[in-house]
């Protein structure tokens, strides 16, 4: 061997299948590391001791009955968006337009609610649902159509669609603002409560949670056992294979994105009719992007997504609690979310690959 050639200290070897327990152990290890880093950071900033950090976070999520409901609602909305985005990602359609698809759903259902409060409530709610899902579907289908037809880059297209949706919403927010000049619509139909989803068992958020739970089960079976789910999986693995076996890839692109967009619209509907009862440009609140990470961390498995969205919702609410107790800025939760995702993304490497010291090879 030429002495001038440097031998790296280790080299990377691709693993075959690794046992499930080992993969789980790697993920838990990464999560623990992430939580340790988060608590060290929080300790540095607030002076709380690390155990107290998580105690405070726990209180922020489960301290009162109200906080628990808020946490469950945040969990449901995030999970819903992640589920809605999943079919697209399964076929490797990089849709980062969840934000816009949710928002246009909010916009459509809010528009029906704002303009036709005279319709009987049950019918109104159905109309709002249809409008929201149709709008979301259109928002999903436009980039998919161009991707299918001319292979237009979908990541950048869907990103731009977010801003088109935001500006449309901003336009109507100002047109319908109450009072004039406030730049806000305020609660729509405050007195009649027309177009508000009913409370179940006196809980405002329960219906949303039930709908998302049903969506989780639907998505699990749709992806795993339906013909369309199978087609999505094949297209995601290899477009050429899909074409070879006679799947119309273009058709699958458009159809899947219509479904994905419609489900995003559904979440928008739940946000407007279920909790916000108004339209603002920030209703989606970045969750269209967070949803991508939640879905990706769960490897697009709907059941695992419950865990990952719980993790993000828990850290989010916990960080809010710490921030408000110490009069700090509420963006603290974004920092912690970012750190956790860095670690969980990074650990995937150790699931797929292992490092081997080069010494071993030379001896052998």
């Amino acid at each position: 061997m030429n002495k001038k050639t440097k031998t790296p200290f280790f080299h990377i070897v691709k693993r075959g299948e690794i046992p499930l327990w080992q993969s789980i152990a790697i993920h838990i290890g990464a999560l623990v590391l992430a939580l340790v880093v988060c608590s060290i950071l929080t300790t540095l900033i607030t002076g709380l001791n690390p155990i107290k950090v998580y105690a405070t976070m726990f209180e922020g999520n489960f301290g009162t009955e109200r906080k628990t409901w808020v946490m469950l609602h945040a969990l449901a909305i995030l999970l819903g968006i992640s589920l809605a985005l999943t079919p697209g990602y399964k076929m490797r359609f990089w849709n980062i337009g969840g934000e816009g698809q949710v928002l246009i759903g909010c916009m459509a259902s809010g528009a029906v609610m704002h303009n036709h409060p005279e319709i009987p409530n049950a019918l109104l709610l159905i109309l709002m649902l249809v409008a929201a899902m149709a709008a979301g579907a259109i928002w999903g289908m436009i980039p998919a159509f161009f991707k299918a037809k001319w292979n237009t880059n979908e990541t950048l297209f869907t990103l731009m669609m977010n801003y088109v949706a935001i500006q449309i919403t901003a336009y109507f927010t100002i047109r319908w603002e109450v009072p004039k000049g406030s730049g806000k619509i305020g609660v729509i139909n405050q007195n009649t409560m027309a177009g508000w989803l009913p409370k179940i068992a006196d809980q405002q958020y329960l219906l949303t949670i039930i709908v998302v739970a049903a969506l989780t089960i639907f998505m699990y079976f749709y992806l795993k056992y339906s013909k369309q789910g199978y087609e999505i999986a094949v297209v995601g693995e290899s477009e050429r294979t899909a074409r070879y076996v006679g799947i119309k890839v273009e058709h699958v692109f458009v159809r899947t994105m219509a479904i994905s967009g419609a489900l995003c619209g559904l979440i928008g509907y739940l946000l407007v009719a279920g909790s916000a009862h108004t339209i603002t440009t920030t209703l989606s609140g970045g969750r269209g992007f967070t949803g991508v990470m939640v879905a990706w961390m769960a490897k697009f498995n709907p059941i695992l997504m419950i865990l990952t969205s719980f993790l993000i919702a828990f850290m989010g609410n916990g960080a809010q609690e710490i921030a408000s107790r110490f009069y700090l800025n509420h963006s603290f939760s974004d920092i912690l979310t970012g750190i956790i995702i860095f670690f969980l993304i990074g650990c995937e490497f150790f699931v797929s690959y292992k490092l081997e010291h080069n010494k071993h090879r030379e001896e052998a």
């Binding site: 700090l328 939760s333 974004d334």
Partner: protein, 332 residues
């Protein structure tokens, strides 16, 4: 009436963050890395500069000394570059060394970066326990907007082209230098090879990982400067949360609009800057809402360019072939 001599400079100051962001992102994308973390990196660049300048101004106040122009520029600039370099390193480490998905890493970086900016922007005073009502770095702002003394005497020409802070010229120079390096030097050629077909580049003896690391980190630092310009020059040194807005994403849009050419970016960014503030100049009468529609123009234009380039399929106008795809030597 419409006054180009007053409109143009406003478009230019709007364009600088976009230009820095898009030049940085173009360099990054030429290496095959689609860095969606640019908005976050620009926030981090801005807040790092703010933190550096904040401590410097506080120490001056304690010692009761006037600001030193050289240090007043150097300290925020170095802090900004270090902050954005760290962000670039996180991205490269995750996507190149650990082979993580680029889009997810980028989005995480944006979440983290925007959160980092807003958190420290909103809590810096509380955390340091200093007795100022808000972050207003007017002394540092003064250093950053030193202008040519004779610019105002040169009539419309001076006002349109010479009457800016130095970062405006630096960003334009960076863009032209980047364009030259990408098209006319060996390193540029190698970098483009890495972005188009890393396997071939690897076979030709180019260190793919190193190019990706360098391109991403340099790109991040350039983008970070855009954030610094925004806060120190445009915003007069006053930090406001979410003030930077969507400019990071618009910078990514600009990369497509310029079909991956930083020299076109100089003009395109001014056009985008003009589109960004056009709604202020269009007479709308009492109809305030329609302005929100005009704000949509830059995004719609970008979509049209994106679709048009994909329809025409002209080879030199396409995104780098392996954009967004990680490279593993073993998996060929």
């Amino acid at each position: 009436m419409f006054d180009i001599v007053s409109f143009f400079p406003r478009a230019v100051v709007q364009s600088v963050p976009l230009l820095c962001g898009s030049t940085g992102e173009t360099i990054t994308e030429k290496s095959g890395n689609l860095n969606l973390g640019i908005p976050g990196i620009m926030y981090v660049g801005a807040i790092s500069g703010v933190i550096g300048a904040f401590f410097y101004e506080q120490s001056l106040k304690a010692a009761d000394k006037p600001i030193n122009t050289f240090l007043g520029i150097l300290i925020p600039m170095v802090c900004c570059l270090i902050g954005s370099l760290v962000m670039g390193l996180i991205y490269s480490f995750l996507t190149v060394s650990l082979r993580a998905n680029q889009n997810v890493t980028g989005l995480a970086l944006t979440t983290f970066g925007v959160g980092f900016g807003n958190f420290f922007g909103g809590s810096l005073i509380k955390l340091t326990g200093s007795e100022v009502p808000s972050i207003a770095l007017s002394a540092t702002h003064g250093c950053f907007v030193h202008k040519l003394p004779f610019a105002k005497n040169l009539g419309w020409f001076g006002r349109m082209f010479l009457n800016y802070g130095f970062l405006v010229y630096i960003s334009v120079i960076i863009a032209f230098v980047a364009a030259y390096i990408l098209r006319h030097t060996r390193h540029g050629l190698n970098l483009r090879a890495v972005g188009e077909n890393p396997a071939t580049a690897d076979a030709a003896g180019i260190n793919v990982g190193r190019y990706k690391y360098f391109a991403t980190c340099i790109g991040s630092m350039i983008a970070g400067l855009g954030g610094l310009f925004y806060i120190m020059d445009y915003a007069s040194g006053v930090w406001s949360n979410e003030g930077f807005g969507d400019r990071g994403w618009l910078a990514i849009a600009l990369v497509i609009f310029t079909i991956w050419r930083p020299n076109i970016g100089v003009f395109a960014s001014i056009l985008f800057g003009a589109l960004y503030i056009l709604y202020l100049y269009i007479p709308t009468g009492a109809n305030q809402a329609i302005k929100e529609f005009y704000k949509m123009i830059p995004y719609v234009v970008t979509i049209i360019v994106l679709v048009a380039t994909s329809m025409r399929k002209k080879k030199e106008n396409q995104p780098p072939e392996s954009l967004g795809i990680p490279y593993f030597r073993e998996e060929r």
